[in-house]
Symmetry: C2
Amino acid sequence: MTDPAPGRYGLVDCDVHPIMAGGMTDLRPHLSRGAQRRLGLDDRRNLSTIGHREAVSIPRNMLYVNQAGVLRDDARAPDGSSPGSDPAFTAEQLLDGNGIDRAVLIGGEVLGLGAMPDPDAAAMIASAYNDWLAETWLDADERYRGYLVVGVQDPQQAAAEVRRAGADERFVGVLLPLTNLLMGQRHYYPIYEAAAELGLPIGVHPNSGEGIFRTSPPTAGGTPTYYVEWHTGLSQVFAANVTSLLCHGVFERFPGLKVVITEGGLAWIPDVMWRLDKNVKGLRDEVPWLRRLPSEYLVDHVRFTSQPLPEPRRRAHLHTLLEIVHAERTLMFSSDYPHWDFDDPRHALASLPANVRERMTAQNAIETFGDRL
Amino acid sequence: MTDPAPGRYGLVDCDVHPIMAGGMTDLRPHLSRGAQRRLGLDDRRNLSTIGHREAVSIPRNMLYVNQAGVLRDDARAPDGSSPGSDPAFTAEQLLDGNGIDRAVLIGGEVLGLGAMPDPDAAAMIASAYNDWLAETWLDADERYRGYLVVGVQDPQQAAAEVRRAGADERFVGVLLPLTNLLMGQRHYYPIYEAAAELGLPIGVHPNSGEGIFRTSPPTAGGTPTYYVEWHTGLSQVFAANVTSLLCHGVFERFPGLKVVITEGGLAWIPDVMWRLDKNVKGLRDEVPWLRRLPSEYLVDHVRFTSQPLPEPRRRAHLHTLLEIVHAERTLMFSSDYPHWDFDDPRHALASLPANVRERMTAQNAIETFGDRL
């Protein structure tokens, strides 16, 4: 892959959520009659009731509820549809309003696919969703790009979907809806292989494995009690998955692979880098495939989106953190539109040192997502 | 409690492990005949075989094994007993050898008590262990102090043990062998109440809830594969428990309580402070009992021991971390003798700025453990 010209874009937003206005019924046109019946989405069913209780639904986080809601109410188009569900309105409000040249779309509703017990249902929904995203959003504005999503339960089927949906070059990454298997496990390698083959980074995002889980708590030590507690503890999920990727030597096996941690925060990274570098020195026999320090793989292969940016009282502490994590190479701007904790680029960028701001606004995204962006 | 005179000691080691030379049989003299029978430790049984397979044993971490062993072989007394099992030899090697005035003993074998399904067995073992520690170690050298241990499964019984064993003022803290219940949960409040009443800090240490677990993985997102991965991820357990303590408002309810995170590392703390302070601002309704920022409670009530000290390549990064976590108030020296990753005070202290070193060598421990130290 040739390196895209630097300075091609001024601002790339790496975390924008398209919402399905009609819920699961939006997927109907993208499912065969057989798949519709299989999922309970065929027209035998009246799915006009809210929640679509009778159909298969994608599991979602129902244990930790933000009482204020998670969508910005001002992201609602004039027709009154759900916030974030109108591609044209989003283009106007978010992209025109903030001078954003490219927005990378991450399906919010499909993050729970990894929690479905049925691998075939997850795979059918993933394919239909990818087609829906292409026709509804990617066709609507040339500034949109997207992550294609896969059902991780069946890695061979997921790899096939990467190759099928990935033929559309407006898909710039592969969204992995996490399940209770850490990312370094061999289970995922067919998916990584397909992604690396197409030059697509793997993306993860909160509210998949750690928001919707089956038998065990998503974070360490026990089950969190409150939304604020669960949300604060999200870092643990990303720390665990990055540690898993590094220990299993995934980046030795797939040297071209990049992983994008979206909305995972930043302040947990030094702990992983320092502990793992130190531990590997004493425990090398367990992970003989590592030829460099774990932190070196991290800086070369793992990327982080900016929202939510840490907000220490002293800006100098943020700047030291950015230096430790090599943010000038690893950080990419994101707004998380239309979510409640949206980061406005005008404010978020102002707190950053010039050398970081310069590359995180667009250049790091261009290098991560490649020509397709 | 009056504040002890500053400068009373030069160096206090907050994490030293006494080993039971004879394993569970060492507890026999401290158990009634009935309790011996109940635990399978009575003399009907020949317990001379290694592992004591027929008796009740305290669960230990058997999933994540350090291939090099966890005990320093040079901590073995001339008689050939287990490393760390001879109070006089430890006093000579560790205390005399390093100018340590007080060593706070933390039972290594009892860390798994929280994983026992039977609350009464855990409570019997805890009481016997506390008596063993007093007679075998605290009597052996006046520089030894100890954590008393409790079985957390029955909080009322544990609170009674805090008051019983805590009558011996050489016990300076309460060791909580974690189970799969986060530390903020109301379950623990009778224990906290008793500890606060006696002015004893609550201590936690790795290899309890996160090393020995029943049905769910100890860390986030799935089950770690390797020892190096599990050990790196220990931070998650402490992040989760500190977040739990802060969200549940434990320090509003028990204003005199201190919690000591032993061997938990430091680099994960800024993430918890920053995320939680930010989140609480937007989600105050869930935790209305918080009257200050979570990070303020943390700095006032939570203490950290130094080993393993983070080792970034640039010392300035360590110094910024120490500034963020207010190490001059929150950090206490520890060596983790006789474990494999022992921190030698001569080296560990040298990397610290003077204002931190000055108070972490002894003064912060004196203020945390109080007059009993």
